[in-house]
């Protein structure tokens, strides 16, 4: 097949198989439809995630504020603190997602931007996901310590407070390590293939 023949075929490509959406009214409706790009989908999911977290935290906070004669309202405050941390996490993630694409820029620049931002996004995901374990464990420890709540009574049995604190710290470290590896695996599963694809595309453009 000669390139000239290809050129001719190419000219025809824009003419055949005309899509019905070219009808004026249908075309006008298209910009209003939600984008199906992954970034748009992640942003939508992130928003739903935020809504679910806020609804759940509100319900739990209200429950602990009004139940047990208000004696466990510290639990509510702990959840509110977690919700605040989540909102700031949401804000950072959303900011990164907004900056992830520049469709009107040169293709190479857009790919580099997407790769750099996606890597930052994954790092944030990993840090926040891993940090969640010690933060939650710390909040629980404070509650156990100051409210004198005893759970897993056998863990306390015959132990000095310092020995218990050490055991708690050890469990926290183990949980943190587990969370780290789980998040790393999960982030790789979600975004690893696309990051590799972007790297390959950029490498191809540069070589």
């Amino acid at each position: 097949m000669e390139l000239e023949y290809l050129k001719e075929a190419w000219k025809k490509a824009g003419e055949v198989d005309a899509m019905p959406v070219e009808e004026k009214q249908q075309l006008l409706l298209l910009p209003g439809t939600p984008s199906q790009s992954l970034v748009s989908k992640i942003r939508r999911n992130l928003f739903y995630e935020l809504l679910i977290v806020l609804v759940c935290v509100t319900a739990i906070a209200v429950f602990y504020f009004v139940s047990f004669g208000g004696r466990l309202q510290e639990v509510s405050w702990a959840y509110i603190l977690l919700a605040i941390l989540f909102i700031s996490y949401f804000y950072k993630k959303n900011k990164l997602l907004k900056a992830m694409q520049c469709p009107a820029c040169q293709v190479k620049y857009n790919l580099s931007l997407q790769l750099a931002t996606l890597e930052k996004y994954v790092r944030l995901y990993l840090i926040a996901g891993t940090a969640m374990a010690p933060v939650v464990m710390l909040l629980f420890y404070l509650l156990l310590h100051y409210k004198h709540i005893i759970i897993f009574a056998s863990a306390y049995a015959g132990k000095e407070p310092s020995a218990f604190a050490l055991l708690y710290l050890l469990i926290t470290v183990i949980f943190t390590i587990i969370f780290y590896f789980f998040n790393r695996w999960y982030a790789g599963r979600l975004y690893g293939r696309h990051i590799q694809k972007l790297k390959n595309l950029l490498l191809e453009m540069e070589e």
Binding site: A13, G14, P31, Q101, K108
Partner: protein
């Protein structure tokens, strides 16, 4: 500018340059459904970027950038399957029996030819077939002109090689 006027202007622009979008869709997607999805996504991205368009670059350059960026960095495309001429759907076979046989054959050949090219090579080939000069290609892709020359030669070689295999 009022929203109606913006919409009107946008619509004119799309209608004048619909060929660019159709060609990108044909180049990167091989099923009608995928083409439809990509077409829609490109329109959405063009509409989002339209208020920021300041005539600093040619409208075609702006459209090529958005269309190619959408097609290349579209995550869903990873699952799209390339269909070769030998496995064209029955729909295409039926169409071949009608008057548009020649056009369809040409398109099938074009699709077959680009099957072996990477996404970046497809973009370069498209701009080459559209008779853009190296300066314009650099403006769209961000690849240096010397590098583009090398890549075009490689693409030609690849196409010749695969054409030889097809014959």
């Amino acid at each position: 500018m009022a929203t109606d006027q913006i919409q009107e202007r946008f619509l004119e622009l799309i209608q004048e340059n619909a060929g660019i979008i159709h060609k990108v869709c044909h180049l990167y997607c091989h099923s009608a459904q995928d083409r439809q999805d990509l077409f829609q996504e490109i329109i959405v991205q063009l509409w989002k970027a339209f208020p920021k368009f300041r005539n600093e670059s040619k409208i075609s350059t702006w459209m090529y950038r958005i269309a190619l960026n959408t097609a290349i960095s579209d995550f869903r495309k990873q699952q799209r399957r390339i269909i070769t001429t030998s496995e064209l759907p029955a729909e295409s076979m039926e169409l071949q029996e009608h008057n548009i046989l020649e056009q369809k054959e040409r398109l099938a050949l074009l699709q077959e030819a680009v099957t072996h090219l990477s996404d970046i090579e497809k973009a370069i080939l498209m701009l080459y077939l559209e008779e853009n000069n190296y300066q314009e290609m650099e403006e769209v892709l961000g690849i240096g002109q010397a590098n583009l020359r090398v890549k075009i030669n490689r693409i030609k070689e690849k196409l010749r090689r695969h054409t030889g295999q097809m014959q």
